[in-house]
Amino acid sequence: MAAPPALGIVATLKDAFRTVPGIVGGGMLVALLAMVVIVPIYAPFDVVSTWGDVSAWVDNPRLAGPEWSDIFVPGTLPRTITIQPEDFRKTKVVSETFGITTIVLRSTFDFSADYFPGELTFRLFTTFKDITPLVSVQLERPDGETVELLRTTPENQAPTANSYPFSQTITVPETLRNIRAWATSNFNATDVAFPKPEVTLFAEGGEDMLDPHRARLMRGEYGIRVIAVAFDSEDNIDGRFLVFGRVFGLAGTDHLRRDLLTGILWGAPVALAFGTVAALIVILTQTVFGAISGWYGGRTDEAVQRASDFFLIIPILPILILISIFYRPSIWAILFVVVAFSLVGGTSKVIRSIVLQVKQEQYVESATSYGASKIRILFKHIFPRVMPYTFALIALAVPAYIFLEASLAFLGLGDPVLPTWGSLLGTAYNNNAMFNGFWWWIALPSAGIIFATVAFALLGYSFDKVLNPRLREQ
């Protein structure tokens, strides 16, 4: 049993922040708080509310590692190159006689990374009157070759895009045929079962260019040309060409191309808010009940003691999971349930035992003898003595609640809207991120949780060091 601390709150805090763990933990906490301030500026809440909306993230690469993954490999990994509609040079020739309109879009880009790009996507925005225009998309290579990627009649009217992905998994079949034919006829390339357009198109011409494992990268200036034949003078086309990189931002992306940094950053305020609020309410309520139980004794004590036995035995996590799955509560409703099931418990037992010790101290009796009322003694003399302990308990409880939320979210039972560290991990886990080596998807969100919990654990430890003189002396 811990001895009642002999220091006030202020003195305890001061001393705690003088110890090494206190400084480190405090520093980490300050960093987290800074993050909480910065996050809404970096990614306002409306970004977060689109978290579940797949279409909001289509221009990001899929399952890209963080940009700093470069440090693990020789050379640089490709970044995403986006050619926006306004980047294209547009020439429009309207034939007077037939009303046939020819539109040509052309743009160039420099590809200088040391690895093949991840995917290619062309988005076509067309406006047409009656007949869909005919569109041909061609890639111009630094070696002077031009490959036709696609010849199509886009159905969708702008602003809805016609999307044409070219990559191993989801390629327009025609594209693959074109590429195969081009590579075998122009370069005598050996055909393979599963060629990757994003590799072959950026490979040096030769026999290996169709084999994703053996093809050699060709750097240089590439061009993209779109030729459309439309049937009305008012018809128009615009394009957006995306050469997806293999890395993205500071934290990479997930299978839905979502920027994990947004998720991880928003995880901090959510985790901190949930953890701190839960810990504060739970520990403070338990402190109050514990103090009342120890100080008033008798039947009050008995009642609080029995209640804390009851709460100890209630299987709270299974019940929480049950509630989560049946009612899909928001994070605040979960918080409410957590608090409701922890009004008394372990902390009230600890606080009660400290109060019982403080109660024995003679200054408490002296206070009665000079006229202090019971309630005054409780607030003026007992609480100040247990509060430093409460602080330590709060600091140590915050991680527990952060992890409680994370656990629920991991099981897919967390808040349905907000991205949290736990839900990021859960999605990663369910998408076999471990097996596929998407390490950032696992490592970064869990690093967030671990960082936050270690900050609080160190703070708790520094309090403990100050409050337990035996650990301090010597």
């Binding site: 049993m1 656990s407 886990y429 390490w439 919990t453 270690v454």
Partner: protein, 353 residues
């Protein structure tokens, strides 16, 4: 004997608490008749399926079909007691839950195909107990040993480092380490299987079977041990430090006991009751943690069962498991009381009085 009376008193109180806890869970689980609705839906589905299979039935006119369906459906609802008023129904559920007499599971079965709740749960329970009991025992033994070492060299760099490590590992739950360890040992280094409790198909030779089981047990076991040894070490360290300055320890040393004997016979012995108390909570925590830890490791104990049951809304299993959890907790607390009394002769007298 006074201590016996105390234990009986405690036992009765804990039993009452147990019943209350299960009752509360039943009410929560059935808030607004949620489970009842699910059950009714399932009954309706079953009735309809069985009727459709009958060609005579299809030939009947629609309103007659409907009438037959209604009668059968209501008969089954009645038979399962779903129409009882709230209070008797919840009480019946509670009594059934405590006896694990919850009838049939809706979806899940045990390995042999039985859909009896008791069969399913009792098949899984030993696996959970093996994993977590073994882990707790190893973690306790290692943690106490380490804690004593740390106390012995309190405030040395080794102690400080291990203290921070201990605190860090014990605030981080096993499943987080689990993810990392599976990533590293399961997929990265491929030393251990990343999940499951036996290879498929399991070996038939009993020795190989055991070896295979142990091989699958190693990683989850190691993870749980790694996640909880810290709390044993840190708690032991602090309590041992407190006891180490007591006069009777000094007396033991003065008597000529060797340092090791002083540590074992005096320090650890005297510090053990609070160590046991402080750490019963670790055990309690690991019962809960089982749900996620087992899910991560795909370890087919009651934790994973709970997760599976939840995903398919297998309500009777959920209630049954909550009851099992409550029993596990009560048993832990009761064993704690018992151990505490056996370890500290003072408690035997004072608590009994």
């Amino acid at each position: 004997m006074a201590f016996g009376r105390y234990l009986i008193k405690r036992g009765v109180l804990l039993l009452i608490t147990l019943v209350l806890a299960v009752y509360v869970s039943v009410i929560i689980a059935n808030f607004g008749g949620f489970i009842d609705e699910i059950l009714k839906g399932q009954i309706a589905f079953a009735v309809r399926t069985s009727l459709r299979a009958d060609p005579d039935y299809a030939a009947l006119p629609d309103d007659v079909q409907e009438e037959i369906f209604r009668v059968r459906f209501e008969g089954m609802v009645e038979a399962r007691g779903l129409n009882e008023p709230f209070l008797p129904k919840t009480i019946r559920y509670t009594i059934d839950a405590l006896q694990l007499k919850l009838g049939r599971a809706i979806v899940l079965t045990d390995a042999a195909g039985s859909d009896q709740i008791a069969d399913i749960i009792l098949e899984r329970l030993p696996r959970t107990l093996i994993l977590f009991f073994t882990a707790d025992i190893i973690a306790a033994a290692f943690g106490i040993w380490l804690g004593m070492k740390m106390a012995h060299r309190a405030m040395s760099p080794m102690d400080r480092g291990l203290t921070v490590l201990s605190i860090t590992t014990f605030v981080i739950p096993p499943w987080v380490f689990g993810i990392y360890f599976i990533l590293i040992f399961g997929y990265g280094l491929r030393i251990f299987p990343p999940g499951g409790f036996l290879t498929t198909p399991p070996p038939t030779d009993p020795w190989l079977y055991t070896a295979d089981f142990m091989y699958h047990l190693a990683l989850p076991l190691g993870t749980v041990v790694f996640a909880i040894f810290g709390s044993w070490a840190y708690t032991t360290r602090n309590l041992v430090l407190q006891v180490m300055d007591e006069d009777f320890v000094m007396a033991g040393r003065a008597k000529g006991l060797s340092e090791g004997a002083v540590q074992r016979k005096y320090v650890l012995r005297a510090a053990s009751p609070p160590i046991v108390t402080a750490l019963a909570l670790t055990l309690v925590g690991s019962w809960f943690g089982a749900i996620i830890t087992e899910t991560v490791f795909n370890w087919p104990g009651i934790g994973l069962l709970y997760f599976q049951a939840i995903q398919v809304f297998d309500a009777p299993i959920i209630i049954g498991l909550i009851a099992v959890y409550a029993v596990l907790l009560v048993a832990t607390v009761f064993v704690l009381d018992l151990t505490y009394g056996l370890l500290d002769p003072r408690v035997r007298a004072t608590r009994g009085a």
